[in-house]
């Protein structure tokens, strides 16, 4: 009876095209609702960041609106272009503001439709990666599937997994509220797709573009270099041949093309918008001191020591200065996010898993963490599910712990911000719970993951 049961299961799953249509309709409805809601309520549905992007786009189109002329050397000499960085808290690449120029001349919600479209593209990329690179090599999926319709089974499975992303409330709420994370996810997934297709040059260009958009995707370069090195060295040991290939021609070509893309994009933006671009898009993020609205336990230390110019006081003992040093979080963060890339990247077919671990550890140990950061790694979960061998009870427990830690923190933050209770200490304790519980969730996922066996990946 089992094969018939499986066939019935497959038949109940709609095609991927249907899923895309449902996802698109859902997003259009939410965007239309957001327009109605914002017009009738003081508390807006739209994220404040969308206002920031839209204002930045307006400033580009209208130089001299508020004395906001671009300050780059090229712009000063040849062009009169507006400065998006005249908008306070605009801390992104100017390319994002340029993408949203139609907000001004077409429709204010154009950006939301763009982000929603990126969501759909991401769903399609997830589906393709599953169909081409993961499901065909995951034998444990369907031991009882009839040999007649493995493709149909795979399509159903891939559609179900893509649903995790496309119908994830976190995902569609973020994009329809006007957060631009979907664009970065498109770049990252495209990089991953090309990497798995072994189209090295395309992967390098996409990685450079991703890193220009936000710096953190640089970490994926380490794992990809490790992966392409591993593909050319048969032995999986850490011998001289491997280490030599790590800095060999192929790896260097990839690194140069990727870095070159990043530098060219940065140079163009600097030429037009000058130091404000460098500072707001990159330098600001290296020394962020978010003392508020920040899941990381470092929020309280930052707040208590803010008046010490962000650094350690010279009056403190050496070990106190060490405790306050940013290196206490930076070293674990970089060791894990880069080290796992180097070490786990040797499992070249497991790039989605490696990138998930790298991103998770990067976010977990970052001194700043807001809800939007979680999408950077939840993006990869549909690609991992087929290869994670844990019971459904453990899945539920992981989900409950992951969400529960955030809910605990948010409840206490509400007590602090809106009810004025002195719960700084309690909020900090919940931040520690967030770190510990999310580390546990990562541990469960890693322990349950079944790596590809190398012979399957020729």
């Amino acid at each position: 009876m089992k094969p018939n049961t499986n066939a019935a299961w497959q038949d109940r799953i709609s095609g991927f095209g249907t899923l895309l249509v449902i996802s698109a309709v859902l997003r259009v409805v939410l965007i239309l609702y957001s327009e109605w809601h914002d017009a009738h309520s003081i508390v807006k549905y739209t994220d404040i960041d969308y206002r920031v992007f839209s204002d930045a786009a307006r400033f580009i189109l209208h130089p001299n609106l508020q004395g906001n002329t671009a300050k780059g050397p090229f712009a000063l000499r040849y062009f009169t272009v507006g400065d998006p960085y005249a908008r306070e808290t605009y801390r992104y690449t100017p390319l994002l503001a340029i993408l949203l120029l139609p907000n001004e001349w077409l429709h204010p919600s154009f950006g939301k439709y763009l982000f929603a479209a990126c969501d759909l593209i991401n769903g399609a990329l997830i589906y393709q990666i599953l169909m081409l690179h993961i499901l065909p090599y995951t034998k444990s999926l369907a031991p009882d599937v009839s040999a007649k319709n493995p493709k149909r089974f795979m399509r159903a499975h891939a559609t179900l997994l893509a649903t995790i992303h496309l119908l994830n409330p976190l995902v569609f709420t973020i994009s329809t509220r006007g957060s631009s994370e979907a664009i970065l996810c498109t770049f990252v997934l495209s990089t991953l797709f090309y990497a798995l297709e072994r189209r090295q040059n395309a992967a390098a260009v996409m990685l450079g573009l991703s890193a220009h958009w936000k710096i953190y995707p640089i970490i994926y370069g380490v794992s990809y270099v490790s992966a392409i090195t591993s593909q050319r060295v048969n032995d999986k040991g850490w011998d001289f041949a491997y280490l030599r290939r790590l800095v060999g021609r192929q790896a260097l070509c990839f690194a140069l093309l990727s870095a070159g893309t990043f530098i060219i994009l940065g140079a163009i933006c600097y030429a037009m918008w000058g130091y404000p671009f460098l500072y707001e898009a990159y330098l600001y993020h290296t020394d962020r001191r978010d003392h508020r609205h920040n899941f990381s336990p470092y929020f309280y230390l930052i707040y208590l020591t803010y008046s010490n110019s962000g650094g350690t006081s010279a009056d403190l003992s050496i070990w106190r200065q060490l405790l306050r040093s940013p290196f206490t979080s930076l070293i674990p963060q970089l060791t894990l996010s880069l080290g796992t890339g180097l070490v786990l990247g040797r499992l070249s077919a497991d790039l989605p898993f490696v990138w998930f671990v790298q991103t998770f550890t990067f976010v977990l140990f970052n001194r700043v963490c807001t809800s939007q950061y979680f999408i950077w790694y939840t993006l990869f979960i549909p690609l991992l599910v087929p290869r994670i061998n844990i019971s459904w009870k453990k899945w539920v427990m992981c989900g409950a712990v992951w969400m529960g830690a955030q809910a605990l923190w948010l409840a206490e933050a509400y007590n602090l911000e809106f009810l004025g209770h002195n719960v700084f200490f309690g909020l900090w304790v919940r931040s520690l719970v967030y770190v510990a519980s999310h580390a546990w969730v990562l541990g469960v996922i890693m322990s349950g993951y079944t790596p590809f066996v190398s012979c399957n990946q020729q």
């Binding site: 306070e88 336990p297 070490v343 770190v435 790596p451």
Partner: protein, 202 residues
């Protein structure tokens, strides 16, 4: 009334008498706000307020990160009825940490100055705005002012919690300890994953 928490709306009631006598004038509310208070210009736009703000526009810094200078918010009001209500959303920066059990900080607001601003051709008026208030371009065409009495505003003070600096050492130690423990746990789990992969390949 005292606001608790970091977010509130300052509501000012302005009873107007002899409205017709000020037909050529404009009605304004001037708030002098301490450095602890955050004014979000974009939020005020959302509330449909017509205003000018002179002061620190950084929305993100704590009190210890800004200069101890007041901000000035001038709101233009349409006097359509005998009683005008002006609601201004305000937010509070995290205050300077103190010592002690459950430390708190009280922020007092001065009552806002409500006034008619009239052109020079108007009848002679004798009021003056606070001397330390800055020049506002919204008042460029007005040279005479009539300050209104009997206006009421609420809340005029904030009672906010602040961090306890006695926690600092404890926070430093435990934050680093938990971070390192999480790091060690993840490294251990990665080692297990690699070993499992190695066994599979064997």
């Amino acid at each position: 009334m005292q606001a608790k928490g970091f977010h509130t709306t300052l509501s000012t009631n302005i009873p107007l008498h002899a409205l017709h006598e000020y037909a050529a004038c404009n009605l304004f509310v001037l708030h002098e706000l301490p450095a602890d208070i955050i004014v979000d210009s974009f939020e005020l736009n959302d509330h449909g307020l017509f205003f000018q703000f002179v002061g620190n526009t950084n929305l993100e810094l704590p009190t210890s990160g800004v200069a101890n200078e007041p901000g000035w918010l001038l709101v233009a009001v349409k006097p359509e009825t005998d009683l005008v209500v002006v609601d201004v959303p305000l937010h509070v920066r995290y205050g300077v940490p103190h010592e002690g059990h459950n430390p708190r900080h009280i922020i007092q607001l001065l009552p806002p100055t409500c006034f008619w601003a009239c052109p020079s051709s108007y009848k002679l008026l004798h009021s003056a705005l606070p001397s330390q208030s800055p020049k506002f371009h919204l008042l460029n065409s007005s040279v005479q002012f009539e300050i209104l009495q009997h206006t009421t505003s609420s809340p005029l003070s904030f009672d906010i919690p602040v961090g306890d600096i006695n926690h600092t050492l404890y926070i430093e130690l435990c934050t680093v300890t938990v971070t390192l423990l999480a790091f060690v746990y993840i490294v251990w789990t990665i080692s297990k994953t690699l070993y499992s992969a190695h066994l599979k390949m064997q």
